[in-house]
Subunit: 313 residues, 2 copies
């Protein structure tokens, strides 16, 4: 007996991972290939065809309902990756069309945060929810907003840029060139920037000082886990900026839950505790004590593949 399957492809800055997934969100088989190793898209697609063709043949093309692709700056409407700063290729890449033509199975593209939101809705923490926000806290901050059970893509496919909402007016410079974006504070790189600034400005004793210049979010998390008060204050501050911004987002889409995904979200209550406190403090009364803050329920290692695959159903 054959079961319906989909193929999920996550195009990351370093590697591209893929998997065949069933309706229950179980990965039947998976693999990965290099992204950075293929500086030309021609090479990249050729390598992809070589690795995916035997996989599709093994399960039977007729059993694979579709291909879902998640990629930074992926546009759902056009099927194109548009000027993705973290990928090796410049300009506009018509990913969905190329993969569809190459493999003979309909492929759909979206950005990685939207893919994660659809993954949570299909197999994860947002099962059965119609109104929620998914926030990815990694190198940057991404998001997928779902309302009425549908992803908000906006008129051009670019909606959901929570990372580029201004969290601090005239604040820190963001990679996008503007000042004070949420991403410049509430990402893994943002918390490291805060730490380095504070280490410069203050003489506080902290186990992190020895790593000044080579700090990572993981180190800050470990120090906080050990009770380092400087590290705890870093999480409090990061949670404050994020909580304040989320309070404003709740006023717009009034979600049932906000789901956190990605490296920095793995700090768990260290971060979500302050986020929750500051969000509630800053929220209009009609929204208070209604919005659940949840961690992703997708298994870490496979979340991106699952997210991408969910798009194909």
């Amino acid at each position: 007996m054959t079961q319906p399957l989909v193929l999920g492809i996550d195009i990351g800055g370093t590697n591209t991972s893929f998997g065949i997934v069933n309706r229950r969100g179980e990965i039947v088989t998976k693999g990965s290939m290099s992204t950075t190793g293929h500086p030309s898209t021609t090479d990249y697609f050729a390598a992809m065809k070589q690795v995916l063709t035997p996989l599709i043949d093994e399960f039977g093309k007729e059993n694979i309902n579709g291909i879902g692709i998640g990629a930074p700056n992926g546009n759902f409407f056009t099927g194109e990756i548009v000027f993705a700063p973290n990928l090796p290729w410049r300009g506009v890449i018509p990913i969905a069309k190329t993969v569809t033509d190459m493999l003979g199975i309909k492929a759909t593209l979206t950005n990685d945060a939207n893919a994660a939101a659809i993954g949570e809705m299909m197999y994860g923490a947002a099962k059965g929810m119609k109104d929620f926000i998914l926030v990815t806290l990694g190198t940057g901050v991404g998001s997928g907003f779902v309302a009425n059970g549908q992803m908000i893509y906006g008129h051009d496919g670019f909606a959901g840029e929570l990372g580029h909402v201004i969290a601090v007016r005239d604040g820190r410079k963001c990679g996008c060139g503007r000042l004070g974006c949420l991403e410049a504070y509430a990402s893994a790189t943002g918390i490291v920037r805060t730490a380095n600034e504070w280490l410069e400005q203050r003489n506080t004793e902290t186990s992190l000082r020895k790593n000044k210049g080579s700090l990572t979010a993981k180190m800050i998390q470990e120090a906080a886990d050990q009770g380092d008060s400087f590290a705890l204050e870093l999480f409090d501050y990061t949670g404050k900026i994020l909580g304040q911004t989320l309070a404003d987002m709740v006023a717009i889409t009034s979600p049932e839950a906000i789901i956190f995904f990605g490296g920095l979200a793995q700090a768990g209550d260290l971060l979500l505790g302050p986020v929750h406190r500051y969000m509630e403090e800053n929220m209009l009364n009609i929204f208070q004590n209604k919005v659940a803050l949840l961690q992703s329920a997708l298994p870490d290692a496979d979340a991106a593949i699952l997210g991408a695959s969910a798009l194909a159903w």
Copy 2:
């Protein structure tokens, strides 16, 4: 030949207006009654029944497809008005159920800004649009966000509180008790507050000084129309705060257009000029030069009735 009709009811703080509307958004007949004159809901509903029953009988109950009601703090999901500070009644009023039972026609409730958004989509400036934001600039600031052709109500029916997004962190006190809400700056009352503050702080010569203490937004508009530079600066400042906040909203829902409705919006380019300039200046590059700023296309006097009626189709 009978044409399909709906009944639209707009419950305002002072008056309740109503009209029978056809598919093309033409008001076939209309009227109004006092809101404030009925301090008890029992009286209010009795008066409403008295005035609406003959109207319904005239057109035939079988020809009226439904009743749409717009009211401040109206909740679409529950059909209730919940603690509306600008209405004479306290607590929770089950408007939709009461009207449905009383008149024998299915009634649906939403808040006045959402009703306006649905009205624009049905008969006005948003015809054919699937992703837009409607902003009401009156005594307060209200909004209706539409994505994928559907109103965003959120999980509890309270979504779209743009007026209570924090526009200025630790800013001016808002009626809701919090600091820096958009409504405290970008409403008719907000621009008057700014004017009074500036008149206190500065010695600038302005025709508005003689009205200090009894200023209205209309006076500021008239002074700006005459070229009064103080009044023009007030519109510039108000437009800056509104434009900055809208730039953030665009990053979330990526609308095709933002439509402005209500008293202060009638200032037209005096306000929308600065709003547009500051919005573009503060927007992430992928959204620039894509979002149209439009004035409501619903006829002023009847807009609220049309908005409410559109809910009933």
